[in-house]
Every structure is written in structure tokens, then in C-alpha cells.
Symmetry: C2
Subunit: 456 residues, 2 copies
């Protein structure tokens, strides 16, 4: 719509400046040292929503980081879209690998470099600006509700409680989220599913204290060695996961669905070049697209034990630790998988060590119905600004609360992401394309327009 | 000798205070942040040697931490004993496990708790006080030279150069070192051998940056997982080391020697209780005494990679690291073993990762001839103060430069240690028994006396 184009053209620079200001707030939810910044970020989001024209905007306290809520109800008889996003970000370390400060956004080669630029500040903020566009031009076609949380990167532990306590307030017809990526601006795509997550931490204890590796070496189980052996045993020679029962509930796609999935553009040479690896790695019998989309995985996210400082120390450590997470697919249940992992990990521990397994957090996998009105509206919106239909793909990441929306609110979720896999999410030098940011702001109003029309 | 007894009784408290003062200096050689403290510790050692009556005392600069030299030549025709020790200490971390400050010595239950109390400040300082005893009572039976270095805990890289450059100054008949332990004060023992050491660091690189474990998990080799698999493969199901050629030069003891070795008192139940483990672990077919004394070992001293901070981070790390050291036995060469390790570790790395192997440092194993005059003198000295003959045992630790003394100076070394295996060397709450300290000061003069007499 021309009025949207004009309004967005006039306010282009401000739209960017406001995002940069948000990116300067280090709202790292996993690290309690940033709790005050995280709270300030919530206040900033509240103010931006009010300025955009939202009503009843509120920073809702939780047992953890607060949730920002706001809404614009123009006519209760019209459809309502619930926009979800998160203002918290991943930790920035390893800091030394960043080319510029993670919280000092820099624009370079058409990209915004900053922690949270793509995940998810840059993406949820597109919705705030799209809403502002429709609101200020008096073209809002439906009701909109915003729920922007601050604990997505640490498992959204308190969002579930908030949703249960606010079912009436959150009543809507569909949930709209931009927290995923598309193949490219030339090949727009929509995620039709997400993997679930089960995040565990393990502690292996050998001797009751660090020992001299010369005096005791060879006579006492070294927890680092034992942990290595245990981790090594979690994948077999075909890179299948060896946890008993792990695959029992995995829903296998039909050959037709697999073929459709593999039809998406994928350049293995380019993929390897981008990652700097000579060879890919993964579960035997599946393509890379399948390995990252429809197959469950188990990854070591962190491992540590013994002396890791400068120089050398001839110590036989008392303890070794690892953070291990599993990505789940329909119909795996993350509680069940967490239990299977814990049971197995304890079972394979030799008598010479003690093992402690802790559940960090998790979430269930999700699949979007491609025949739903909202999905069609999203397709049409993307077509109207990209000039082509989006390719349906399965996302490898997890947004645990998507399954929660369905369970608690009975709502389907549309995953209309505008990022790229190469945006370095969770990595140093996270970036988000300026073009992606503006394209998102341009596309989102069409979703609301088409969804309102097609819902009649 | 009564004069020794009297002198030591009169100066008992000062002997302790002086040691405590040395222990308050954090001379951590591995950590450059302590370089100034380490230098100050060398100056303190110099002053103590001068006060004890040594001549030509000098802090000799090296490319690393300095070496303190001092001597007392009473008659060139008499035998000369070269006393070696080290004033540097291991890093103190993990600090949170110390009951009192590692550099704030505390006397509790008859023990001195402090980093370096047993390894090696408390032990080399016994020689300074034993020398003072003989010198001040005009009973010095032979010439004594002191060489106290500051890089033993980081591989004595510069000591070799110093020895090559000072062969004349270091001329002696035997090297005497107290940097090992005995079974107990009730069961005195002398180490008749030491294991060698080859200390390596490995770096495994997967993707060129940390990745989102959801977006890429399952499609790219995780360096932490690969490192775990590689480490796991270094021991087989019998805990034999799998590096090709590793055992080729291992000198196997005769059944008689093994029997003699296993005759030493060893209480497995007590050993397990002390370490808090339900089961011991080690190479099949060998006893604990053999596993820690006459068999080579491979231990992970440290491992790290990915996110090791608070909370969770769903990252697929770019790199994973490990510090791995091997204890060597006669006739393994540490350079050769280091090369075998590097070659093997690179060979077992899958194409999907890159591996970098670095040599930290090492040293050759050593065996003391039990028929040497100096060894007999040490046995007699211990008998005269403990009332029984010491049990000959093989020490599991390494003092790399012992082999160097033989090679460069043609000198045998006597390992007359007064510590205990339970002194928490290289661990939190390192301790040294007051009784051990004073017993050492009491015993050492007898060594010099008997060595002088028996050398005639």
C-alpha cells in the first residue's frame, strides 16, 4: 500500500536508530550480572510500544525477567493477531572473536553487527514498526497484541506461567513470530516446523580432590577421560544417537515429504566454504537439510574440567563437566527424552566415578499446518513484497513456547522469519541485514491485511 | 650428633617462621601474573642461604625465572654434594576448594597448609636449615652446593642451559634432592626411580566460528564431540594406551623386582577411602603400586571448549582443547613419545576437523642405583633418625632434570623425600607435616656425614 511505503520511507532512519538503541542494552538473560540491563531493556520496549500507539502497555513482572505486553483493539469483532518476540539475547562470549563490541552496533556492508540484531531484537522490532506504520496511517486491518519476553534464550521458564494466568488477555486467532530465518532474500522461505530441545548438564566426579597426575596417574579414574568416553559413546559409527528409546517416537516423513524438503535450494560447496570445513558430518542416510530439519540431534555445547589456564599443570582433576543439548522432532517429548538421557548417562558411568545429571530446560517440537488461513496469508504477504512464493522449510532451531501456545491458548503459530542462517546467531559477530530489517517491516502489514480479509 | 640436636632445638621456631615467610610469596611459575612474586621469592632464598653461611650466593638470571646458586667449599679434597630444589610452585586454583588461603600458611593438626609447603619450599628449605646446623656448629663434613630453581613446575626449560653453562661451578660427587615422598614416618622409604613426562596440548577445530546448535546441529562435526571420541580412543578396554609404539621401549621388571615392589605396605581400602572412590581404575594386569610406579600412563590434565559459563547456551563450538600428559618409564624417550603422540593424534582426526598438537614440556625417566655409596649413605642416615631401613620404592612423579644431571654432569641423584602422597601436591590444601619438616632437618646432616665417611 502506498501510504505504508510513504510512511516507512519518511521514517526509515528513525526506525534504524531506535533498533540500534535497543541493541546497545546488554540484555543477556543467562547471566545474572546483566539483570539490571535486562530490566532496562524491558522498560525501553514498553516505551517504544507506547510511542507506536499500543494501549495497556505494561512491564509484567515474573519470577525471572519481565514480559512486556501491549495491545491495540480496534474492533473486537475483527480477528486478533498475537505477536510474540523476545528482547533477551545470548551471552556474547567468546568476546575476543568479535570484530566490534557486541553491544556497540556497527553498520558494515549492509549489515547491523550486534548481539541480538537478528535474534531477536531486530526481528521483533520489525513488528513494532509495522504496527506503527498501520496505526499512524489509520490502516490497521485487525487487532494486535504484543507479548515480548525476556527469557527465550534461557528456556522461557516463566512465560508458561504468564500465559496460564493471562488466557483472557492473550485471546487471539493466531500467533505471529519472526525469530527464524529464510534461505535468502532471493529465495524467501517460511519455517513450517521447529525442533524441540532438551538441554542437560552433566557432572562426573572421580577422586574427592584434584590429584598429582604423577603420584596417582594410572591408578584412579580420571573424570575427564571417563566423561570423554561417555560422550563418545552417545553416537555410534553412523552418528546415530545411542540412548535407548531415543528414536522410538520420531515421526518419519514420507518419501514425498522428504523429496519436497530436499527440493529446497542447497549448495553444499558453498555451505562448507562458509563454515570452513573440508567435510560435513552427520547421521548416515540423511541429507544436510534433513539432518538440520527433520532429524533429532545431540550436541556438546560446552565441556570443561581440570586445568584450563596458561601453561601446564600436572593435575588429575576431581571433576569434569559438560553441557549437552538434544534437538527433538515430532513426536518426541522433551521431558521423556531428558529422562531417557539421564537414565542412560547414569547407566553407562563406570563404578569408579560418580555422575550427576541436571536438566537445564527444554521445549517440544512444532509443525505449522500449511493449509491454515494464517499460513496462506503469510505466503501471500511474502509474495506481494518479494515477488515470489516462499519455500516451505523445516527449521532446525527451537522456540519452545510455540508448542505452549497451542496447548494453553489453542493457537497455531506462523513463523515468518526474515533472518539468514549466516547471521551468526549465538555466535560472535551476530548480524542482521538492513535489507532484511526493512523488508520485514514492509511485509508484515500485508500479513495483517490478508489475514483479516481471508478470515472473513 | 648432640650439637645438631641442641642447635636445632634452640632454633626450632625460627626454622618454621622462615619457612612460613617463604610460603607467603606466591611464586607461581606457570602464571606470568606472578612473575614479580617469583623474582622476589628468588631474592628471599638468596638471603636465607647467605644467612645460613653459604658463599658466592647469587640470583642467576635465565630466559625465564632465575636460579639461586650458593656454595660452601670447606676443603676441595672433600666430597661435594649438590643440593637441588625449586622455589616455584603450582598454580593454586581451584581456589574455592582451599580451606585457607594458599599463600597464607596455616598450622593445623600438625600440618603446614600452603601451596608449596611440601612441593618444594618445605623440602628444599630443610636442606638450608640442615646446612646452617652443620655450618654454625662447625661440623660440616663435606662441601655443599645449592642450586634452587624457579621453573620446575613448568618443565625446567632454562635449567638445562644453566647447567651446560656452569659445569665447572656445579662440579660435585652426587646430587641430593628432597622433592618426593615417603610411605609414612612409620614406614620411611626412598624413591629409587622417577617417571618421565611428556606434556602435550591439543586443539581441535570444527567450523570456523561458534554456531547455533539448532541451525547447524547434526550437520557439522562438533569439535568437543570429536575431541571426546579421540581422547576416549587413547585407552583400550584394558586401559592400555593405544598410541602405536608407545610401549616399544618400556623396560619390563623381572618377577622378582615386581614382587619386591609389591612387598611395600599398601592398604587399598584406606587408599580408596582417602580418595573417596568406590573402585580403582588402571591398566589391566598391574597392581596400584605398579600402575603408579613402573608403568607409563596417559592423563587428561585439562579439557575445555564451548560455553562453560552460568546457565545454558545452545552453541556448537568452533574449537575444543585438552592438556594431556604422559608419565614415562625406563627406557622411554620423552621426545620420541611426544612425536608418537602427535603423529597418532593427527592420524585419528576425522577429515571434518583440523587438529593442532603442541608440546608443552617433558623429561626422561630415571632410576637410582641402589648399590651406590650415596644411596647407602641415605639409607644409613634415615636408619639413624627413623630407627629402621627405608623401603625402596618407585616414585610416580617426575623431576625431569634428574636425567639431565646424569647426562650433563655425570652425577647420580639421591631422592631423599620426606613428604607424603597425601600432602595434596598440585591440589587444593597442599600440606606438609611439621614432624616431616623437622625430621628432614634432623636427618639430612647424617647423610652428609655418612657420605663423607663412606666416600673415603
Amino acid at each position: 500500500m502506498q501510504v505504508w511505503k510513504d510512511y516507512q520511507a519518511e521514517n526509515k532512519d528513525r526506525f534504524l536508530d531506535e533498533l540500534l538503541a535497543l541493541l546497545r542494552i546488554p540484555s543477556v538473560s543467562a547471566d545474572s550480572r546483566y539483570n539490571e540491563d535486562t530490566r532496562q531493556c524491558a522498560e525501553a520496549v514498553k516505551q517504544r510500544l507506547q510511542e507506536a500507539g499500543a494501549d495497556k502497555v505494561e512491564v509484567c513482572p515474573t519470577a525471572g525477567h519481565p514480559i512486556v505486553y501491549g495491545e491495540k483493539i480496534i474492533d473486537p469483532s475483527l480477528p486478533t493477531v498475537l505477536v510474540y518476540g523476545h528482547y533477551d539475547v545470548q551471552p556474547a562470549d567468546p568476546l575476543e572473536l568479535w570484530h566490534s563490541g557486541p553491544f556497540e552496533p556497527v553498520i558494515k556492508d549492509g549489515n547491523i553487527y550486534a548481539r541480538g540484531s537478528a535474534d531477536d531484537k531486530g526481528q521483533f522490532y520489525m513488528h513494532v514498526k509495522a504496527f506503527e506504520t498501520m496505526n499512524k496511517t489509520n490502516t490497521l486491518p485487525c487487532n494486535i497484541k504484543f507479548m515480548i519476553e525476556g527469557e527465550e534464550e534461557v528456556g522461557s521458564a516463566n512465560l508458561g506461567i504468564f500465559i496460564k494466568d493471562n488466557k483472557e488477555r492473550l485471546k487471539a486467532d493466531v500467533v505471529l513470530i519472526s525469530d527464524t530465518s529464510m534461505i535468502s532474500l532471493e529465495n524467501p522461505s517460511i519455517d513450517t516446523g521447529l525442533r524441540g530441545l532438551a538441554y542437560m548438564e552433566v557432572e562426573v566426579t572421580g577422586p574427592n580432590r584434584d590429584l598429582h597426575s604423577g603420584v596417582y596417574g594410572g591408578a584412579v579414574a580420571n573424570p575427564a577421560t571417563i566423561l570423554a568416553k561417555m560422550i563418545a559413546s552417545l553416537h555410534d559409527e553412523n552418528n546415530h544417537i545411542t540412548i535407548p528409546g531415543f528414536y522410538d517416537k520420531v515421526h518419519n516423513l514420507s518419501d514425498a515429504d522428504r523429496a519436497a524438503l530436499n527440493a529446497a535450494p542447497f549448495d553444499e560447496a558453498e555451505y562448507k566454504k562458509d563454515l570452513g570445513v573440508d567435510e560435513l558430518w552427520g547421521e548416515k542416510g540423511y541429507s544436510t537439510i534433513e539432518r538440520t530439519g527433520i532429524r533429532p540431534t545431540l550436541e556438546v555445547n560446552g565441556i570443561w574440567g581440570g586445568y584450563t589456564g596458561e601453561g601446564s599443570k600436572t593435575v588429575l582433576p576431581s571433576k569434569a563437566f559438560a553441557k549437552i543439548s538434544m534437538r527433538l522432532v515430532p513426536d518426541q517429548d522433551w521431558h521423556e527424552i531428558s529422562d531417557l538421557f539421564a537414565k542412560h548417562f547414569e547407566a553407562i558411568a563406570p563404578k569408579s566415578v560418580k555422575v550427576k545429571v541436571t536438566k537445564h530446560h527444554g521445549g517440544s517440537p512444532y509443525v505449522t499446518p500449511t493449509d491454515a488461513v494464517a499460513f496462506k496469508a503469510a505466503q501471500k504477504a511474502i509474495h506481494s513484497t518479494f515477488g515470489k512464493d516462499p519455500i516451505p522449510v523445516r527449521g532446525g532451531g527451537s522456540i519452545p513456547i510455540v508448542a505452549l501456545f497451542e496447548k494453553e491458548l489453542g493457537l497455531k503459530t506462523i513463523l515468518m522469519g526474515f533472518g539468514l542462517d549466516s547471521d551468526n546467531l549465538h555466535s560472535p559477530n551476530e548480524k542482521y541485514g538492513l535489507a532484511n530489517y526493512y523488508k520485514g517491516i514492509e511485509t508484515i502489514p500485508y500479513f495483517h491485511q490478508f489475514f483479516a480479509e481471508m478470515s472473513k
